[in-house]
Structure formats: C-alpha cells, structure tokens
C-alpha cells in the first residue's frame, strides 16, 4: 500500500521524535509513506488569521503535488490536516485563483483516522509484540482534528475514538474522560502566557483526576503545550506520548530510552516501572 505523506513543519523541528516514530511504525506495517516532494508550509493559523486567500493557496500547492502523484494524503498534524481539508473545500467553491493545477478531489486523511480503520487496527494487533499492559492513558484530540465537523468530516466530534482505538490496539488501558477535544490554547501561550496556562493546566488536571498515568496525542502543538508546561512543576508528572511512540514501543521487544529524550516530562521512569522499557 502506498500513500502520500505531508509531514508539516513541526515534524522537522519540535516534533522530530514524532517523525521518527511514524517512520518506524509505517515501515513495520508495510505501508509505503511517500513524502510529498518539496512540500511547503500549510500556513497554519497565521495565514488563516491574516490572509484568507493565502490560507487557501498555501495548502493548495501541496494538494496539487499529491494529485500529480495520484495518491491520497495522510497528515500527522491536526492543524495541517484541517488546513488541507479547508483549502480543498474552498478550491471547489472557485472563489480564489489557485496558481497550480488542483481539483481538491483527493482524500486527505488525518493519520489517526487512517490507522483506526478496522483493517489497520487488525494489522496493528498483528504487529504488536509487547502489549503495553497496565499503562493507563487518556487520549487527547484537541480542536483542529475534529472541528468544525463540516471540514474534518468527523461525525463523533464530541467523543472521538480514533486515538482510543489505536492505543487500545497497542495494549494500553484506555480511560474515558470528558476533555478529549477541549482546546489546549494552541500558540496563544507564546504571546499570552496566562491564557495558555489556564487551558493547558485544566486538561492535565482532568487527566490526572480520570486516573491517567499518561496522555496520548497526535498534534505536535498539543504535545508541546501539555509537555513543556510541566517543567519546573515537580508535582506534575504526566508524560505526553504521540500515539506513534506507543505503537513503536509495542512493536518491538526492547524499546530504546533514547527515543524519548525530546520529552520534557520524562516518560522513561513510568515505562520502566511498567516493565515496558
């Protein structure tokens, strides 16, 4: 199986570990991820905020490249996924001129939904060598992957389950909770720290109250927000995993602690205590 891959800027920097984990997981699953050649930034929230035209045009360049390859796209970042889908919808309305040949007809998948299909879950279960038994997690989806439903196509946007299914397939004990898609503040913390903190801390608190030892995410910005805020707070020790990190860990007999060195809230002690490292 072959699918085109739009990593997005974060996966080259802040979320390099996510990139490596995805690479390992897809290789193990024999799915050929073809990185879109010479891809460019989707514009994220900034383009949308300051220039509506650019928020359609910037993702369109990558859509055009994937259409040329004749492959659907899978995007690991929630915001990239959302912007690509948004661009497709506006392209079809024909209200902006797009400098590239693009129809908006290919399928853009968010990576978690791609992997949560029943055939993929079956494949994951076949690959699991060391189930993550006893690891209690909650799954956190954030905003851009699920909302607004008319863009993302999620029908269960109030109680999304893709990450839950993936984490459960890897053997983790997935706990239900009510804060799956409550906003983490995105990039607002960079300019207005107190707003960001109020949102992020609540999510951590609720996860802890639900009995979670770790949080599973797919969005690089959610990961950074929830992870970095815990530095200098010794009372908070909830590691924030990318779902791909957990899959990778479950796929082989001996994981490597070095995989987690980019984390601020070190997951290694927890994984060791559970006999998973």
């Amino acid at each position: 199986m072959k699918i085109s891959f739009y990593p997005g800027c974060s996966l080259e920097g802040m979320a390099k570990d996510y990139f490596h984990a995805i690479d390992a997981v897809f290789e193990a699953m024999d799915i050929d991820l073809v990185e879109i050649e010479d891809w460019s930034c989707c514009g994220a929230t900034a383009a949308h905020s300051l220039s509506e035209a650019m928020s359609v045009i910037l993702p369109a360049r990558n859509l055009a490249a994937a259409e040329k390859m004749g492959l659907d796209i899978v995007a690991p970042c929630a915001n990239c996924f959302n912007r690509l889908r948004y661009s497709q919808q506006i392209i079809k309305k024909k209200v902006f001129d797009i400098p590239w040949q693009v129809t908006g007809d290919i399928q853009v998948h968010d990576m978690t939904r791609f992997l949560a299909e029943s055939s993929m879950i079956k494949l994951i279960k076949e690959r699991v060598l060391k189930p993550l038994n006893g690891l209690k997690v909650v799954c956190y989806y954030g905003c851009q992957m699920v909302r607004p439903p008319k863009i993302t196509g999620y029908t269960d946007y109030e109680n999304p389950l893709t990450l839950d299914r993936i984490a459960a397939a890897a053997g983790a004990e997935v706990i239900d909770w009510s804060y799956k898609s409550t906003c983490c503040g995105a990039s607002i913390g960079i300019a207005r720290k107190e707003i960001g903190e109020s949102l992020t801390m609540r999510i951590l608190q609720k996860a802890q109250q639900a009995g979670a030892e770790a949080i599973v995410v797919s969005c690089p910005l959610c990961q950074s927000n929830l992870d970095i805020i815990q530095k200098d707070r010794p009372d908070r020790r909830t590691p924030i995993f990318y779902f791909a990190e957990l899959l990778r860990l479950s796929f082989i007999a001996h994981g490597d602690p070095k995989w987690f060195k980019m984390h601020f809230t070190d997951p290694v002690p927890l994984l060791k205590a559970k006999g998973l490292l």
Binding site: C9, E12, D38, C41, S49, L58, C143, A191, L199, M262
Partner: protein, 211 residues
C-alpha cells in the same frame, strides 16, 4: 416616563462627552459585506449565547462571541476591529460547532481579524497579532516555518523584546530556548523550499499587485 428620562440621563453621565450609540442608524452595509465575504449567515443568529458559553476564552474577550455577531448586524465595525476578541480567539471552532443556527462564528471572527490586519487600527492584543505576522514572514522567506527562526524573529520584534524585558520573562524564554536546543527540539537550519518563488508570487497576487 420619569424613569426613562433619568435612565437616559444616567447613561449620558456614565460616559461623559460620548454620544450614545444608536441602534439601526447604520443600515445593513457592514452586515451584507461580512455575510458575502465570509459566506456566513449572520442574520440567522437569535442571540442564544451558546457560542459564548462554548468558548474557552470568552472571559478574556471584551466583546463576547454572540455580541460580536450582534455588533455586525448593527454595523459597529470599529468596535469590532478594535476589540481584544478578534486576537484572543483561538480558532478552536467550538462556537461554530455548537451554534443551533449554523452561524459560522469562528469564520466570522477570523474574517474580522483579517479586516483588522488590513486596517489602520492598532491591534488591541499587539503581541498576538505580531506573532501571526512573524509566522508569515518566516514562511515567506523559506517556504517552511522553522520554529527556531520563528521564535528568534518574534522575540527580536522591538515591541515584543521590550515587553519581555519589562515583565522580566526574557531570561525565562532564553532558558527555555536553550533547553529546547539541548533536547534537539529546535532545528537551526532548514533548507529553503523551492516553493518560495511560487509563494511570493501568490502573495503579490493576493495583495492586488499586478505583474
């Protein structure tokens, strides 16, 4: 009767020198413009406040989301473009998702943000506006956004640098930057994407520059 008179007097005293805002004196020009440009049916709003109740940051906003919709109906353009609301909004799409009348509140607020960015009004939340601006500057230079460059460019903006210096958070930010570097989370060099030329051209077109 007497009640009404004293009430009006009270209002006038409350904001001395300020004329009371009139309802309905501005026609539908602004409403029609936003409805057309943003493709949102703002007239459908019946002020149920569900959007505001769903919003995670409404308490940081001066004009609440449902009020913003009403302001558009009334044509109170400057108030909206001067508000903190348009910059504090996270584009989290809660309001849009829960509006019973399918008013796309998030897209509407986003459109106001676009309008404000292209107006002479100084953004009330300058640091938030500058962050978006810096993001796009970095994007235009290399076609991708490298977080290391983004943060450097952002903190070196005169307004931001001074603000950080004043509130004493500069050191903290620097230390965080160093930790991120040490952990390998920042990439110092990003090869330029071949996209830059295409992107710059699209920018010129979006800004109405011909040729």
């Amino acid at each position: 009767m007497q009640n009404t008179v004293s009430h009006q007097k009270g209002m006038a005293e409350h904001e001395p020198g300020k004329k009371r805002k009139l309802i309905g004196d501005r026609g539908n020009y602004f409403l029609d413009r936003i409805q057309g440009e943003a493709g949102v049916n703002i007239s459908a709003c019946f002020q149920c406040e569900r959007c505001t109740n769903a919003c995670p940051v409404s308490h940081f906003m001066d004009i609440k989301p449902h009020q913003a919709i009403r302001y558009i109906q009334l044509g109170w353009r400057e108030d909206l473009l001067k508000s903190s609301t348009i910059w504090v909004c996270l584009s989290c799409e809660m309001c849009t998702t829960y509006c019973p009348n399918e008013v796309d509140v998030a897209e509407t607020i986003n459109h106001l943000r676009n309008m404000a960015a292209h107006s002479s009004i100084t953004p009330k939340e300058k640091s938030l506006a500058v962050f978006h601006q810096t993001f796009l500057e970095v994007l235009r230079k290399s076609g991708k956004v490298n977080e290391f460059r983004l943060m450097n460019a952002y903190y070196l903006k005169p307004d931001i640098f001074q603000e950080k210096l004043k509130n004493g958070t500069l050191k903290e930010e620097l230390l965080l930057g160093l930790t991120l570097l040490r952990k390998g989370r920042l990439k110092i060099f990003t090869p330029r994407s071949r996209a830059i030329k295409d992107i710059q051209k699209a920018y010129h077109q979006a800004r109405g520059e011909i040729g």
